[in-house]
Amino acid sequence: MTLVRFQGGHRFRVKGEPAKVVETLEAPELLALSPAGIKDFKPRIVVKVGDKVQIGQEIAHHKKNDVIKLTSPAGGVVEEIRYGRRRVLKGVVIKRDAEESAVDFGACQTDALGKLSASEIETRLLESGLWPQLTSFPGSSMPLLESERGEKLLAGIYVSALFTESHTLETSLVLDNNTENFTAGLLALSRLHPNLKIFFKQGMSVPEQIRSAFKDNICFIEDKYPAENIGVQAFYTKRLKKNEFIVGASAQTVIDIGYLFRKGRVRTERLYAVCGNAAQKPMHFRGRKGMAVSDLTQIFSEQVDGSQIRFISGGLFTGKRVSAEDFLGSLDESVSVLAEDRHRIPFVFFRPGLNRLSLSRAWFSALRTDMEAESSTSNNGEERACIQCRACIDVCPVDLIPNLIMKASVTGEIEAMEALSIHDCVDCGLCTFVCPSKIELGRDILDGKSLIEKEG
């Protein structure tokens, strides 16, 4: 059981973390199937308004490959198919009925599960709609199917059973009462590829059942962001060759997979974390997949003016903006509610700064070990030119030179970007966070990757 250490990164302590208590929410009347956040998924909807659907029934599939499906989180009647700007599918809204029948995919005993082949596992995950919950690195989109891989080789399955990003879940609460499902899920994933690695936070006591079944697969990793990033984990355990990729699964996805094989049905329960300084009570809630942000946010403060409140799904570094009417998709598990900080602090840069969040030692807050920083959305300055201060280099967890990659990306120099190992970038957002010139390094690096993909 090795300890993985990595350079750069930072242990953040930001206010608004969810309390380590769980409250169960009543299932709302309306739930929706939302493809939000699943990269490169172009939905073709196969139901219409008025259709009766079961939990786990196909609602939409990927236009490019119809075996990749998204399935219903609820049993009932299709109420509405909601579109957003530019005909982006916001959600297929289902009105729950009392019984909520579910598709039976066939339960599987543990020994039988342990003998299934990789393609059998893949097929089951595809037909149940769980496949899009898996991610891959490099790229962070759905993993390539066996049939699509061509020359690309799957090098391993990485399960992140930890959260270090600010405003995300508490792992022990996720695993509580779910160790059977988690273990079954790990067994299923191990059939996809023998190189299965499960990462826990350094110092966490792993539940006995998991520890005994997967002793050789467990790794511990330093407790600092971005330890849960599978790109970082792979960088320090098995460097990927150019044609290799790995598949990632979050703890809740593993539980969903285990539940599917054990019970033969798609799991509808989900643990959510509600965080942030504009949330009345930041804590954990047991809810349903497909809830609306506003179902969780009944517990929020009253202000919903868009210019005053920001809703984020995901952590503070990698999360995306959502609005209160959006539905939480299969990758969403934490919602952060922040008051926009446009406060124009007078003489801010002259202040000693005992409370300022900074990775540099430019403020007196660097002397404090106990500080919990405000979760302020202020940009803390306007965009300027790069001054080569090395802040981005010192914080990068995979030893890149982000400012040079940014300069190569902005000028469209593909060879320079490749020479600087742009594909090792894990999109953690730390370089963008620290830059004193407030340059959007993460966005520039992503643009560079897209350019390479297009021209490639």
């Binding site: 920001r310 952060s336 840069f349 807050s365 202020s378 300055g381 300027r384 001054i387 080569q388």
Partner: protein, 418 residues
């Protein structure tokens, strides 16, 4: 309040209302100087580090304050001593020095800021924070007695040619304060070298009273004539700097002995000697270095590299010194570090992040070459008693090249591992 009025003016300027629209850059700069901008993050990550360029530059200015304050006092002290007056208080010296130094600092910021404002306005950018540091560095590398018009020309040249034509802060190849200083050095060499005598002669008024006139610089070879032509001894004069003495290569003169007859090592370390305003005190520079390294703003690798390079080169000369070599060869290596602009250049000039290389190893190499080249210029070339400014400017050209090879070696190693 004042802030709200200022913001209203900024808004009007941005909307294009004449004549305010021509003040847009200046007004916006004032507004964000006094209060943090209201910008919020547009995309992930949703929170950002509190450190911005204003904080970064302010810390450099804070690190320069010991040099500035000491320089003010030392200028006043020099003024009193050179008229033979030794019973002056600390405050007397500080006040006298302030009268010479503070106007230069204000002038530097005002003129430099004005140039920056014009370029920002024309380019429709914001005024960048780089000049907050340049504005403080430039007076500190000039003598206190420099004529204001000459000083103004220097800063204009430094900001425009040294920085703005390259694209502004972040794009400059050279350190702008050093470019300004180099301009003065090559355009007005007599006034800038250590051989200059600076006097404050007396004027006789109608009623027969004497009143001190403005500072005048007299080339060394004319000083005798000038004093002879005065009816009264000048009010003040300052003499040659330590470097000027030790690099003097007259036959029969042991310049090192001559140096130590005027200044002790301790004098030179503390800075009790004439020179440019901020450069004299190695001690104050080291306090500044401590501030820069502790806050992580200045690279200790560059600083250590410069000192190491200087020591190595000076040792080479020291161990090869003999009766046939110029006497300056025999100067002990560590004494070199105390004289002239060596410490100041190593700590504040070479560490400018924009004009120095990016990689840690490159910074060590760059620093080493600066230190070595500086001592080389000082010792070998009689025309340049001080080599620091030139060696930093020269190495600025090579900063990108050093980086190119170091980073290429690193990326090749990394690609090979996959």
């Amino acid at each position: 309040m004042v802030f709200r009025l200022l913001d209203k003016l900024v808004r009007q300027a941005e909307e294009g209302k004449s004549p305010l629209k021509y003040q847009r850059a200046g007004l916006a700069a004032l507004s964000t100087f006094f209060r943090r901008p209201a910008d919020v993050t547009k995309q992930a990550p949703h929170i950002r580090d509190a450190t911005d360029l204003k904080r970064f530059m302010l810390l450099v200015v804070a690190a320069l304050l010991p040099c500035l304050l000491f320089g003010i006092w030392n200028t006043g002290r020099g003024a009193y001593l050179s008229i033979g007056q030794t019973d002056f208080t600390f405050f007397d010296a500080f006040l006298e020095g302030s009268l010479h130094v503070l106007p230069l600092v204000l002038l530097s910021y005002a003129v430099g800021g004005f140039c920056e404002m014009i370029f920002a306005q024309l380019r429709n950018h914001e005024i960048a924070e780089g000049f907050l540091v340049t504005g403080m560095l430039y007076p500190l590398v000039c003598p206190a007695t420099i004529p204001w018009w000459m000083f103004t020309l220097g800063i204009i040249f430094g900001v425009v040619i040294g920085k703005e034509v390259f694209g502004g802060t972040g794009q400059n190849v050279f350190n702008p304060a050093l470019v300004a200083r180099a301009f003065l050095f090559f355009a007005y060499p007599a006034q800038m070298s250590g051989e200059v005598w600076v006097v404050k002669p007396y004027d006789k008024l109608a009623d027969g009273t004497l009143t001190p006139a403005l500072w005048t610089t007299i080339p060394a070879d004319q000083i005798g004539q000038f004093i002879a032509g005065q009816t009264h001894a000048p009010d003040a004069y300052s003499g040659a700097t330590a470097l000027a003495i030790v690099t003097e290569n007259a036959p029969g003169l042991d310049s090192v002995a001559a140096l130590f007859s005027v200044f002790s090592s301790w004098d030179m370390f503390v800075g009790l000697m004439p020179g440019s305003i901020g450069e004299v005190s190695t001690l104050m520079c080291l306090i500044g270095a401590f501030i820069l390294v502790v806050t992580g703003i200045g690279s200790w690798r560059t600083m250590v590299g410069v000192f190491a390079g200087g020591l190595v080169m000076a040792s080479l000369f020291y161990f090869s010194s003999s009766d046939q070599t110029p006497t300056v060869f025999a100067l002990a290596p560590h004494e070199h570090l105390l004289m002239g602009g060596f410490a100041f250049g190593a700590i504040f000039m070479a560490t400018d992040p924009v004009s120095s290389p990016l990689h840690n190893t490159s910074r060590l190499i760059y620093g080493f070459l600066i230190g070595a080249l500086c001592i080389l210029i000082r010792t070998i070339n009689p025309a340049f008693p001080e080599g620091m400014m030139l060696s930093i400017l020269f190495m600025n050209i090579f900063a990108a090249l050093i980086d190119h090879y170091v980073i290429r070696a690193k990326t090749k190693r990394r690609a090979g591992r996959v």
